[in-house]
Symmetry: C2
Subunit: 281 residues, 2 copies
């Protein structure tokens, strides 16, 4: 018998991963959560049928969402929204100068399942600087003003509980919750397949309305749709490339498997067809 997990990128394209064992399947109040053991990627986390992470390539996503803003600005107080698997927090806790990480995940079950099955990403959620809130991210951020240097929106796709994290109202609240030099980084979908590209345009259109600086950067993530994944860098003051503190970041000697400061600059050099989609958004 062969067992395969399949994700449809569109109705005409699919990506399939061979499965050894279905380790966990649970329906939370918000979504369906599955963990599979696979020969190629180690354990994989699937939410509502969409692949969220694999043990083998999660480093790419988590390094790129965390280290890009950290290399640009002096950041001490951070709000992380979503990110239930813990990978983003794992990367952030590598910085000794970070004082506080508030992490707001709507679905406690995602955290519980990842704590049990994926210690590779959830290993630093008990760092004493991390405060876990199991609440609605949109409501949480509404109550904050001038409080964070950085907000990372590490959400699922803009369907289900992740949808509100792609609204204008949410970005406006984030702007208010940030200090006067604050930065927002978010997962920004992919430019290639139609549905993803529309989500990318939608996010960019709104971020541009709210933040004076709104850029997009890219990474190669083999297990995400098209392999070409984007992140948004929206900011009140800092430019992600001009303000990169290259020497300072390299002097920290952090071990990274994807990110480096040359790649940081390169990641903001996006293809013409993506530029055009963003301009038209």
């Amino acid at each position: 018998m062969e067992l395969w997990f399949t994700e449809y990128y569109t109705e005409n394209v699919k990506f399939s991963i061979k499965v050894d064992k279905h380790l966990k399947s649970i329906q939370s109040d918000f979504q369906k959560i599955d963990i599979f053991q696979t020969p190629e990627f180690g354990k994989i986390l699937v939410i509502d049928g969409y692949l969220m992470l694999t043990e083998r390539d999660e480093f790419i996503y988590h390094e790129m969402i965390a280290h890009v803003p950290m290399a640009v600005a002096p950041i001490k107080n951070i709000l992380v929204i979503g990110a239930g698997d813990g990978g983003t927090v794992r990367e952030l806790t590598k910085y000794h100068h970070i004082e506080r990480i508030d992490m707001v995940e709507i679905d406690k079950m995602v955290v519980d399942v990842c704590m049990e099955f994926i210690p590779q990403t959830s290993c630093r959620l008990k760092d004493k600087r991390v405060n876990l809130y199991f609440e609605d991210g949109l409501k949480f951020v509404k109550t904050k003003e001038n409080e964070y240097d950085l907000i990372i929106v590490d959400s699922t796709d803009p369907i289900g509980p992740g949808a509100e994290l792609f609204t204008l109202e949410f970005y406006e609240n984030c702007f208010r919750a940030l200090k006067d030099k604050g930065i927002l980084v978010n997962q920004h979908e992919s430019p290639y397949y139609k549905g993803d590209a529309e989500a990318m345009q939608n996010a960019h259109r709104k971020l541009k309305k709210v933040f004076p600086i709104a850029k997009v950067y890219q990474a190669h993530i083999p297990t995400y749709s098209s392999g070409h994944w984007l992140f948004g860098f929206a900011s009140k003051k800092y430019d992600p490339v001009l303000d990169l503190k290259e020497e300072s970041w390299n002097s920290l000697h952090l071990e990274t498997y994807y990110y480096n400061t040359e790649l940081h600059k390169g990641a903001f050099a996006i293809p013409n067809y993506v530029k055009k989609l963003l301009e038209e958004s």
Copy 2:
């Protein structure tokens, strides 16, 4: 009834494309050639079961293999090896200052099939500067000395007839066929899945032995294994980034959908894990 084309990236990962119609299937002296009509990607070319190109994303590969060297050096005489679909030649013929393009494709049937079914890529093969040779690339290049400014190796994977285009002997012959400031660019496989990564290391190890400058650059190609595809830039004199003629290239006002000179520089900023694989090669 549903018809799907499936490519296995490893025995545990597969990528599938829905097919409307199997337009052509032919066994040449060298390989099996198939053309399918698909709803997502237009027509696709498959050789020996491996996806070679889709009409929808071929621009990425062809722009990146052609424009990167062209933006670095004054190039008039070019040898293209492989490239039977014509896409590389299409990009090269956009440069009026190119005087001669010798194209050596071992399998005339690939060219014939692409001329019939994929005019999008084969449209410029009749440009008067293009000389088509249906010969063995390794043998052809052996007869040349100090003749070309640029050699582009646009080969299939290093199995079947493409294998000899990844040998040390071939690269040595290319070195001899190039003028004293010559450049070789080749498709360089992918860093992610094991078999691809080994082919990448193998190519890099040999190129480093032959050329004083041997760099690797990357592109996002959604329909190639992992989506993270590499090209090699090996050269006798020019550095692909330090010698980039940005203003001069931009003054040509060529229309490109992926390539731009900012992206050119960014493409050489590769992830740490890929750097490590190349260093260990």
